[in-house]
Every structure is written in structure tokens, then in C-alpha cells.
């Protein structure tokens, strides 16, 4: 039955002759393990093709969506982590196998006449493969790919004369962005695969034309099928097995934090097989840099391309020796530089610290992404996160004078802002206003200390006042001072009586016209610690309702001009503890617990 069917099909297609042609290739000297590298490369390319097609079913190439779609592949779609992992490590296997194939061809002398043209096709395939690596690295639009690829394209801008134009064309404009990604994507999934398939077809056809480069003393002939095919298949299986092992042990491919053009301390490194080039750059500084970026790679490239022609000018044996030495030295040098680069990083505190921060950013971004990525893009995951972004602003702008839970980077001149304006903070202030945690170190702010000396409130009354003042932070922007004062809940509060007795001697509650000349200077406390109050305090701390009464040199700098609205919003939310807590998957923060 099957035979009947296959005959029917064969008479109409001639497929049997085709298979025969493909498999019944004579191999002088018989099947050998050393012939497996080309086939293993082809097999790995097939694996890349298949996994790449799967990834295309989800990946979305734009600066706003790329990271999110890769996140989705890695963490939400069944099997996505595995397919992406195989694709990721498969690209590295391609580079390794390429080097092995190259060395084998070289040692066998298979680059020499009459196989020169096939050597050149091989070189073309090498560059196409490296092109795949370079373009693919950018596609997740994460910090790693973004910065590594930025460096790579900036290198191209150093080319004489055409450099800047070249860079602009590759990047798709003056800046990195959507056009860079769409262009790289087009290259990665369209242009490069087409080129690779064409060159590979020519490569294999030429290989078939000339046959394997058998050893001189080879005896007998074996067919390609089945022994060599079995060897090739085992090599392919070994490569695939290693890939699966890597993917499973690494838990798939890494996805760094979303690309952030504003980051100032990301330790960019290329993929490991480009590390030797990266390290070489360090050897050439200033105007000599072009030696490392252009001249040496160009010389190597030309050298490789000219290898088959060496026989024309030198004795055959010597040319072969020279060619092998050249490539071995090349690989040795690359290996040496790679190890150097690793060593340099392993002992570089700046790199280690930068990488640690990058890992923290990545973990935070992945946690936030679980809750959904904003339509404006994955960059806003961290950009709008109070803990990450607000915390960074706090560290850069506030921690020089303020402390946070005792931590301060400069000389502490202002209160500790941990739990600022909360009941606990107020209670502490009422107990010991001259402590460095409160106004002890703050020039011009000794009003509370003066009050404390003459205060007649009992500890219980202070508790109630702290409770009362602690509610000010919950007054929202829609509530007016009179709305609030008329609220029965305000009137009934046990802390109100004491507050009215002692605190309003200096503090107003929303109506600055109540302030008389006799009153000690003090900030207005209406909505104190609320989002509105904190925002005003950060943008314009010297407004009359805040600390306008201070002398010029005592004043807190106004940040209204220096910070964006988003900076201020995230900073306020950071101080109020209004964010997704670290290490949890749902909104259970301080803010959610508040009524």
C-alpha cells in the first residue's frame, strides 16, 4: 500500500531521485567525525529557524511593546521560556560551531584551490551569522540589548567619511527608538535569513561539487547515507542536548530591565563572543581607537578572505602552515582578550555594583510587569514606580540633608523622613522635637522645642494629638479647610481640644489670614503630609504656608524646576509608602491598608 502510494507520488515528482542524489554522496576514505561541524551548524540553524518562527507569533517590534511581548513569551505563554531559551543559547552555539567548522576546514586545507569560492561563501555565512547575533540582541529592548547595540552602532559611526551617515541609516534616525527596532527586526527575520539560506544553498552545492577534502592516504569510499548522516545526527543531538541543558539550568534566557535611555550607571557589555572586541577597545584610546574598532577587524577580515590565494605566492605547505597559524593565533588572541575582559569585570567594583543595581531593577520590573504593563510602554514600569524611581530621586536629591530611617549621605540638616507625617512620626516629634530625627539639626526650626519647654499636655493628650495630626495626611485635594473643620469626625476627635489649646498658637489650619504678628513662625498644617501638601513642599518649600519664614541660607531648595511632575508624584508616593511592596505580587502596601 505504502509502496504503491510512494510510487504514484514518485512518478509525478521524482522525489526518490532527489533523495538519492542528496544521500548517496560518496565520501572518499569513509565517514568521519571531523566532518560533522557543517551539518551541526545547519541543524542548529534549523533549530533557530523553527524557534524563531514560534517567537514571531508573539513578539512585537516597537519601543513600547517589545519588552512586554518578550516578558509575555518568557513568563506567560506556555513553553515560551523554553523556546526563547533555545533560540538564545542556539545563537551562541552557532558562533561556537562556526569557529569549530572554520578550524576544521582550515586544518584540512579545504579552503584551497579549487574550493576558494566556497571559502568565501563560508566567510559570508560567518558575517551573516554575526549579523543575526547583533540584530537579535537588540530585539527584547532591554537594558542589555539596548546599550550593547548602541555601542556597536556608535562604533560604525567612527568609520571614515561615511560613518555618521551609516549609523543614521542603521539606527533609522538621529536617535535610538522604534525605527531602530523595526529595522533590526526586518534584518533579523527577513533579510538575513534570506541571505543565509541563499549562501548556505550555494555553500552546500559547491561542497557537493568538490566533495569532502579527504586525507591523502584515504582508502575506499563510503556513502553519505547512513553512517555519516548518523554521525552528523549525533553531533546535532549533542548540540541540542547542551542547549536544553543550558536552558533548563538557567531557567531560560535572561530578560533585563526595560531599555532606559536615561540610566546613568548601566554596565553595558556585549554578548560574550564579542567581548574580545570589547576588550581590545580598551587597548586603544583617544584618536587611536579607530585601530581597535576598524583597522584591526578590517585587516583580520581581509586576511581571512585572502587565505586561499596565499598558495599562489608561497609554497603550498608553508602557506597552509601560515594560514593555520594565523587563525589559531586569532582565536587564541580572542580567547585571551575574552578571559581578560572577564577578569577585569570580576575585580571591578564599579561593574559589580552596577550589575547588582541592574539586577535589582530587572527583578523590580518583572514584579511590576506581573500586574500588567502600561500602554505607553514597558519603560514606564520603572519610570512610574515610586519605590524604584521615587526612591532614586530621593537618594539623589533629598538624602544629602534628610535622613531616611537613620540613613543619610551628607551632613543631616533636616528631619528623618521615614514615616513622615504619620502618627508615629508626630508622636516622636511631640516627645523630643530637638532630636536629630526631627528638628534638632534644622537651622531656624526651633519652634517645637520652645513649645515643648512650656507644654502642659499629658502623655495621653500627646497620644491623642499625634493621632489627630496623623489624620491630616489623609485630607484629599477636594476637601477645603472649612469642609474639613465642619466635618463631625474632625470635631469629635479626642486630640482636637489639646491641639486647639496649644498648637494653634503657632500653626494655622488653611487660613493664613488668621496669622497675627504675635504668632511664632510655623508652617500651615492643613492637609499636612497629604499628597497636595507634600507636592507643594517639594516644589516650593518656601511658600508662605510652608517654610517661607526661614532665612535665605536656612531654606530648603525648591525642586519645582529641577523635577518633572512624574518625579514629584513618585517621590511623594515613595515617602507615603504608596507602592507595590518589594517581593510581593499584589497591592498590600501601606497605602492599601489605609482606610
Amino acid at each position: 500500500m505504502f509502496k504503491h502510494l510512494s510510487n504514484w507520488f514518485d512518478t509525478r515528482t521524482g522525489y526518490k531521485a532527489l533523495i538519492h542524489e542528496a544521500l548517496e554522496e560518496p565520501i572518499p576514505g569513509g565517514a568521519k567525525w571531523r566532518y560533522v561541524f557543517g551539518s551541526a551548524l545547519s541543524a542548529t540553524f534549523m533549530i533557530q529557524l523553527v524557534t524563531g518562527l514560534f517567537l514571531m507569533a508573539t513578539y512585537s517590534p516597537s519601543a513600547t511593546t517589545a519588552w512586554g511581548s518578550v516578558y509575555y513569551i518568557n513568563y506567560e505563554v506556555a513553553g515560551g521560556w523554553f523556546l526563547r531559551g533555545i533560540h538564545h543559547f542556539g545563537s551562541q552555539a552557532m558562533v561556537v560551531l562556526l569557529a569549530m567548522h572554520l578550524v576544521q576546514v582550515l586544518i584540512a586545507g579545504a579552503y584551497r584551490a579549487p574550493r576558494e569560492v566556497n571559502w568565501w561563501f563560508g566567510m559570508a555565512l560567518l558575517f551573516i551569522t554575526l549579523g543575526f547575533s547583533l540584530t537579535g540582541y537588540l530585539l527584547p529592548w532591554d537594558q542589555k540589548g539596548y546599550w550593547a547595540t548602541k555601542v556597536a552602532t556608535n562604533i560604525s559611526s567612527g568609520a571614515p567619511v561615511i560613518g555618521p551617515y551609516l549609523q543614521k541609516i542603521v539606527v533609522g534616525g538621529p536617535d535610538y527608538g522604534n525605527q531602530t527596532l523595526t529595522r533590526f527586526y526586518g534584518l533579523h527575520v527577513g533579510v538575513l535569513p534570506a541571505l543565509l539560506v541563499m549562501c548556505l544553498a550555494a555553500h552546500i552545492a559547491l561542497f557537493r561539487k568538490h566533495g569532502v577534502t579527504a586525507p591523502k592516504k584515504a582508502v575506499g569510499v563510503e556513502m553519505f547515507w547512513p553512517k555519516q548522516v548518523a554521525f552528523d545526527m549525533l553531533a546535532g543531538l549533542a548540540v541540542f542536548g547542551i542547549l536544553v541543558l543550558l536552558v533548563v539550568s538557567e531557567g531560560g534566557a535572561n530578560l533585563d530591565a526595560p531599555a532606559d535611555a536615561s540610566s546613568d550607571d548601566y554596565p553595558a557589555r556585549p554578548e560574550w563572543y564579542f567581548l574580545s572586541l570589547f576588550q581590545m577597545l580598551k587597548l586603544f584610546d583617544g584618536d587611536r581607537e579607530i585601530i581597535g574598532t576598524m583597522i584591526i577587524p578590517a585587516v583580520i577580515m581581509i586576511g581571512l578572505l585572502l587565505l586561499p590565494l596565499l598558495d599562489k605566492v608561497l609554497p603550498r605547505g608553508f602557506a597552509h602552515f601560515l594560514a593555520c597559524t594565523f587563525v589559531i593565533a586569532l582565536l587564541g588572541g580572542a580567547g585571551y582578550l575574552t578571559v581578560k575582559a572577564w577578569q577585569a569585570d570580576a575585580s571591578d567594583q564599579v561593574y559589580i555594583k552596577g550589575r547588582m543595581k541592574a539586577d535589582q531593577a530587572r527583578d523590580r520590573a518583572l514584579l511590576l510587569a506581573k500586574e500588567g504593563i502600561p500602554p505607553e510602554g514597558a519603560a514606564y514600569l520603572l519610570g512610574r514606580d515610586p519605590l524604584y524611581h521615587g526612591g532614586k530621586i530621593f537618594e539623589n536629591k533629598c538624602l544629602g540633608c534628610h535622613a531616611l530611617g537613620g540613613k543619610v549621605t551628607g551632613e543631616q540638616l533636616a528631619p528623618d523622613l521615614k514615616d513622615y507625617a504619620s502618627r508615629i512620626w508626630v508622636r516622636g516629634l511631640l516627645e523630643k522635637p530637638d532630636s536629630p530625627e526631627y528638628f534638632g539639626n534644622v537651622p531656624g526650626c526651633d519652634g517645637m522645642t520652645t513649645w515643648k519647654e512650656s507644654s502642659k499636655l499629658t502623655p495621653k493628650q500627646l497620644d491623642d494629638v499625634a493621632d489627630y495630626v496623623g489624620t491630616f495626611a489623609t485630607i484629599d485635594a477636594e476637601t477645603s479647610p472649612s469642609d474639613w473643620a465642619d466635618d463631625p469626625k474632625t470635631k469629635a476627635h479626642p486630640g482636637r481640644a489639646s491641639f486647639q489649646k496649644e498648637c494653634v498658637e503657632c500653626h494655622t489650619m488653611g487660613d493664613l489670614s488668621e496669622r497675627s504678628k504675635k504668632m511664632q513662625p510655623a508652617p500651615d498644617l492643613f492637609g499636612w503630609g497629604s499628597t497636595r501638601w507634600m507636592t507643594r513642599m517639594i516644589k516650593n518649600p518656601n511658600a508662605p504656608a510652608c517654610y517661607g519664614f526661614l532665612e535665605a541660607e536656612q531654606k530648603m531648595p525648591a525642586f519645582g524646576e529641577q523635577l518633572t511632575d512624574n518625579d514629584v508624584t513618585t517621590l511623594v508616593r515613595y515617602l507615603k509608602g504608596d507602592y507595590l511592596p518589594a517581593g510581593s505580587g499584589s497591592m498590600t502596601g501601606k497605602a492599601a491598608a489605609k482606610p
Partner: protein, 174 residues
């Protein structure tokens, strides 16, 4: 008897199939992943107050909700629409129809003369009671369940659901 040659044959074929299988299994799971994702199930939405509805006159109301589209979380925005027609009479009776045509899912609007529902894609036509007025659609417009709050001027709440198109019966989408 297994010859050496047979062994190589077996190795070649089994090896190739092993790799193909190891990729096909996660690949198929990956491609079938949408089957495991559930849409939002139906729930009652408050659309308007009864007094805002004019008897006999169809009015469209947007369904507003926050939705998750694969990796993106959108804030609240219109995601569909519902037609409401208050019936004449003293008792509060309101008919609610899904704005999605039961034929092939286009958005149903009003006809040019404003006297029937009309789908601009394949000319499905429906009466104000939702019944088919031509043979284009497989069934009448999809009725949605309506509830009122217990107030003097009650709020109109509608169970928003989506249904399979092209079927003569009304089957909620899974």
C-alpha cells in the same frame, strides 16, 4: 538481525525525530496557549438611570472597563456597546441588546430612517424588539439581562456578555 547499516539508519531517523519532537511539544503548547486564557466573564454594569431613557427610542451606551490585552493593561475605556430601549408603559421595562451583530460580529447601528437596527457590514436588519428583519443574521439581536436598583429613579444594570456569532442559538463565548 540488526546490521551496522540498520543501526546507523535507525540512529539518523530517531535522532532527527527526537529533536523535532523536543521542539514540537513546547511549540504546540505555545501555539495553543490562547486556549488556556479566559476572557472576562459576564457581570452587571450600571449604564444609566431609568429616567434618562426615552420610551421607544433606542440609545447606545458604552461598556467601560479596564482590560488586559496580552501583556498590556489598559486603563478604563470603552470596550463595547449596548443598545437600551425603554418600553412604553408605567412599569419599568427596558430591553437591552448587545451591540455586536450575531451574524459576524460587526457593530450594529441604526438604519438611515432610524426605524430599525442595521448592520453596515452585511446588511443584517433587526426590529426594535431585536427580531430578525431579513435572512442575513442567523438569529435576532442578543438580549442582555437587565436589573434595576431599588430606588425611586432606579439605575439600569445590564449583564454584559459576548456570544458566539453565526449560530442560530445564543451561546455565551467561553
Amino acid at each position: 538481525m540488526l546490521t551496522r547499516r540498520d543501526f546507523y539508519r535507525f540512529l539518523s531517523i530517531a535522532g532527527g525525530n527526537a529533536i523535532a519532537l523536543a521542539l514540537a511539544v513546547p511549540g504546540v503548547r505555545y501555539l495553543l496557549d490562547p486556549l488556556t486564557k479566559k476572557g472576562q466573564t459576564g457581570s452587571f454594569r450600571t449604564l444609566t438611570r431609568l429616567s434618562q431613557l426615552e420610551p421607544g427610542k433606542p440609545q447606545a451606551f458604552p461598556i467601560i472597563e479596564a482590560r488586559q490585552d496580552a501583556w498590556v493593561k489598559y486603563p478604563k475605556e470603552p470596550v463595547g456597546s449596548v443598545w437600551l430601549i425603554r418600553q412604553p408603559g408605567d412599569k419599568p421595562v427596558v430591553l437591552a441588546f448587545s451591540g455586536e451583530c450575531p451574524h459576524l460580529g460587526c457593530a450594529v447601528g441604526l438604519s438611515a430612517d432610524q426605524k430599525s437596527f442595521f448592520c453596515p457590514c452585511h446588511t443584517s436588519s433587526f426590529g426594535f424588539d431585536g427580531s430578525m428583519q431579513n435572512k442575513v443574521p442567523p438569529r435576532g439581536m442578543d438580549h442582555l439581562q437587565v436589573e434595576f436598583t431599588k430606588e425611586a429613579d432606579p439605575q439600569v444594570q445590564v449583564m454584559f456578555e459576548r456570544f458566539q456569532t453565526q449560530s442560530t442559538e445564543r451561546k455565551p463565548l467561553v
